[in-house]
Amino acid sequence: MSSITATNKRGFGAFLWDYLTTVDHKKIAHLYLAGGGFFFILGGLEALVIRIQLIKPQNDFVSAGFFNEMITMHGTTMIFLAGMPILIGLMNAAMPLQIGARDVAFPFLNSLSFWLFFFGGVLLNVSFLLGGAPDAGWTSYASLAMQSPGRGVDFYIAGLQIAGAGTLMGGINFLATIITMRAPGMTYMRMPLFTWATFITSVLILFAFPPLTINLFLLMFDRMFDTAFFDVALGGNTIIYQHLFWIFGHPEVYILILPLFGLFSEVFSTFSRKRLFGYTAMVFATMLIAFLGFMVWAHHMFTVGLGPVANSIFAVGTMAIAVPTGIKIFNWILTMWGGQVTVNSAMLWALGFIPSFTIGGMTGVMLGSAVADYQYHDTYFVVAHFHYVIVGGTIFGIFSGLHYWWPKMFGRVLNETLGKVGFWFFFIGFHLTFFIQHFLGLMGMPRRYWVFLHDQGLELGNLISTIGAFAMAVGSTIFIINIVVTAVKGEKAVADPWDGRTLEWSVSSPPPYYNFEQVPLVRGLDPLWIEKMEGDGTMPPGEPLDDVHMPNGSFLPFLMGLGFFVAGFGFIYQTDYTMAYLALYGGMAFAIGCMAVRSVKDDYGYYIPKEELQKALEGEAK
């Protein structure tokens, strides 16, 4: 069971079994990256379909119905199945190492989180093969979703419910880890910014996902069990769905960006060889963004008709968020100011992020003005805005983070030339695609329409936008080629390829499965850097060498996920087929049975003997 065997040569079956049963945060990170990467490609292909359809006026590349499925699945996939899982993957890979922990607080739960996400994502996407994907937009507003024929929206509900449960567990897990498992000396105000961002993002997940869960349940009851929460004709209120969705949805966009704010802080600081400028301000700005993020949801609903008072309050709140965000932008610039700046791939993505994200923030303030929003609402201006923040922030950050931590995660340094070429394709393509969309929106092109007409001045802009989208596809493809090339003949990574500052660079690349032979003693912010400047460049131990307690791997998380997956089909099809109850009750019984097994069967884990750790330490000393 133990991953001691992981270092030996084995067949593919053993390799697969190892990943199916692993509870090691580093391997779960690999799983998250692979799963998220797969859905990222899928979402990217959907984006290309959208852009090909809009390459010329009155195109008939796809049907109107299929176009609706494409825009819905592109948004849903990119946010829930690509963006967040890749972020959770990066958190899994780096955060426990950064605080000097051997794993997350609940390794079993961590594995369950991944498998719930995976099965939820698969459930959502098999809808393509079973009569049509969801087609009510990624927001799936009840007024639209209730009218959607077919089962697409049901797949949306069941898939997101399962994946969302996994995310919620992940958030709780990270919170418990950061609160209870920091190494000796690692006070809160010595935590690396990425760890801080993980912490605050997890708070957002903890508070923002329950409204989504409730909302999905209400929609599910309305669609499958004939209730009328959102049915106006029966006394329901369809606006409630929008409120609940955005009470979740606005914190969700901060869940997507805050981890990258943390990551960029690390990247700028490392590659400028300087301490982060304004560390304390950065921490509190992150908190402030999270706090304000819960109070601005109605700015997505300015045109719903909440009245001038509500609109004004939410407009002011929205603009207030620009202040902490501005603090961050200036702090990053001042971190580089006077530093020894190295521009490599990770840094390029981070440098590209600053102007791109700032443009997105600026259009955000424009949209935050309630009066002006009546003009922008549901046009391509909004599409341009949120792609500038999500692609220019989240996706740039993900690429930066992958370049930065790839050596730590996989033991190889990504190819720099390919990295830089890929960046320029993606960066130029991104601005080609979305900059022009601001103007398309201002000219009145509405979002989510499957065709636009001749002679309205929209032809050239849309053509440029589509060309840009293909350049982004080329950039992403180059990154995938980079992964393959690196895996085949990349240089082996040393423990500290970037002359890093934080604890993850003090262990080998990839780290041993127990992370640290002895948990390190932290003497300040940027602990490794302090040891390089004032010590001997290695972390002093914070505990005597002793046996290390490790959790056993388990196949149960996979089985639980599978149970809910089957139950999901049961829920979706029980409206038409009585036989579906078999899947519903069977799947639920199986999943709950697995939980019972987990609860009743004692699993005390195992110990790594002191001698083995001693040997490893001596090996490192040589």
């Binding site: 609160i179 708070v203 903890l206 508070f207 209120n237 409120h243 009470i247 109070m295 109605a298 509500a310």
Partner: protein
């Protein structure tokens, strides 16, 4: 310190006993108070002796006090090293309050 270690152990043991006795007292008092509160709440509604206008706010206040007892006495939030759980509980209360206030004020009012 070695010569009087026995004394220390004895002292700390009796100290611990006294502490847990006090703790038990507090638990019993708060438990009794909660029962009384619940009784008052039911009585107020069942007898209809107080007008609706007052019953609802009184019920709310008693509910908040009861929740406080629950958190601070039965779930030990008053003790040391409970700052983080307290932060998160109040954070959750704040988020829930905002949600409800938002829905009540803009959708149903």
């Amino acid at each position: 310190m070695t010569d009087n270690s026995n004394l220390d152990v004895k002292d700390s043991e009796s100290f611990r006993r006294q502490k847990s006795k006090e703790e038990m007292q507090k638990q019993l008092i708060s438990f009794a108070l909660m029962i009384v509160f619940t009784f008052i709440a039911f009585a107020m509604v069942a007898t209809e002796s107080i007008s609706r206008m007052y019953v609802i706010p009184i019920l709310f206040i008693m509910a908040i006090v009861q929740a406080g007892f629950q958190f601070y006495y039965f779930m030990h939030m008053k003790e040391k090293n409970h700052e983080m759980p307290a932060t998160f509980i109040f954070g959750g209360v704040w988020a829930a309050f905002l949600t409800l206030a938002g829905l009540v004020v803009i959708s149903w009012w």
